[in-house]
């Protein structure tokens, strides 16, 4: 689906408002006002508020697929390093697209809209397959242990990062970082999470129980 500028603006505004106020907490008037369009344009372009959400979800889903193919066939990089590279790119994506991930979390909690549940399903499947390829590759080369539960691995990756996203205010206060600039804090969190998750992955992929 290709959208014109006005449609993309509506989608962008909806994304911000849905992330900050929730789907039901956002009115189509909110979206129309902040996007600078007439309220009727939302039905005109998308059909309904719900279909706008589905359009936004569909659009953003396609942006955050983990790409693993070029990594996979690069024989100069060790399996564990490949996985660490994937971890970093995932952390980047979550931090860059925080709003979309917030929406995704709430939609998973509510678990009502079948179109969106299906899109999340597809996303999970693709990510699982991508990581599975890296795992198989690493196992063949003897770098990774056997019997790795890929879903638990992904759960820990996504869960740890998501949880940090949701509680970054608390993390900031706990570490006395209230006064540093936001983008600096941002980078610091990314760096911390990167080392942390890589450590976890090393354990999950290589240490025998």
């Amino acid at each position: 689906m290709i959208y014109n500028d006005k449609q993309l603006q509506i989608i962008g505004t909806a994304e911000r408002l849905f992330a900050n106020k929730g789907f039901d907490g956002t009115s189509v008037r909110d979206i129309a006002d902040e996007a600078g369009v007439n309220i009727a344009m939302i039905s005109y372009y998308f059909g309904s508020k719900e279909k706008l959400m589905e359009a936004l979800f569909s659009k953003r889903s396609s942006d955050i697929n983990l790409q693993v193919e070029t990594l996979l066939h690069n024989e100069e990089i060790a399996p564990l390093q490949k996985m660490e590279s994937l971890v970093d790119s995932y952390i980047d994506k979550v931090m860059q697209k925080q709003q979309f991930f917030k929406i995704m979390i709430c939609e998973q909690v509510i678990n009502k809209n079948p179109v969106i549940i299906s899109l999340i399903h597809d996303l999970k499947k693709k990510n699982t397959e991508a990581i599975n390829k890296l795992i198989k590759d690493g196992q063949q080369k003897g770098a990774f242990k056997k019997n790795i539960d890929v879903l638990l691995l992904i759960n820990t990756l996504i869960g740890s990062i998501t949880q940090m996203m949701l509680t970054s205010d608390y993390y900031k206060e706990y570490n006395g970082l209230q006064d540093i600039p936001e983008d600096q804090f941002f980078e610091q969190v990314k760096e911390k999470m990167s080392k942390h998750v890589k450590f976890l992955f090393k354990a999950l992929l290589t240490y025998e129980v």
Copy 2:
């Protein structure tokens, strides 16, 4: 605060509906109908829909504090075992009170109601302190390594379990468990998560980088 039976019934109904439809997706009429009370009783007892949410949150918060004192002073249990015991009790709590945890997640995403943010803050603080005591104890006894980031540890604990809660449908399908009874699946997930998180904790607490 002490509530009578009718108030507790309203709180219980609100918890279920807020968890399944979100705060803004639930109307006071929904709550009143399903709780079998007149719609005016909600304002009468709680003041407003928002204050009902705060009352429910306050009530449930007090139920899920991690207790660590008796564990801490039991010198017959090794530090790592104490931590594993805490992990199990946390997994139990999340699985038992899934509805409340779902509400908590959404409230963290929206991040608007200061009363609730403050309650989540308190909860996090108490949990952090409890786990910190176990960590200090383990470090003194030489069982745990130095330089443990307790917030990252907790993030991984909460995040992994939460993520499993949100994606258990996918986990079920992926592992071909659609046909087993719900409570059996429940126990299986708990067992899997328990082993998984304990493995992660052992790595985070004892393996040097």
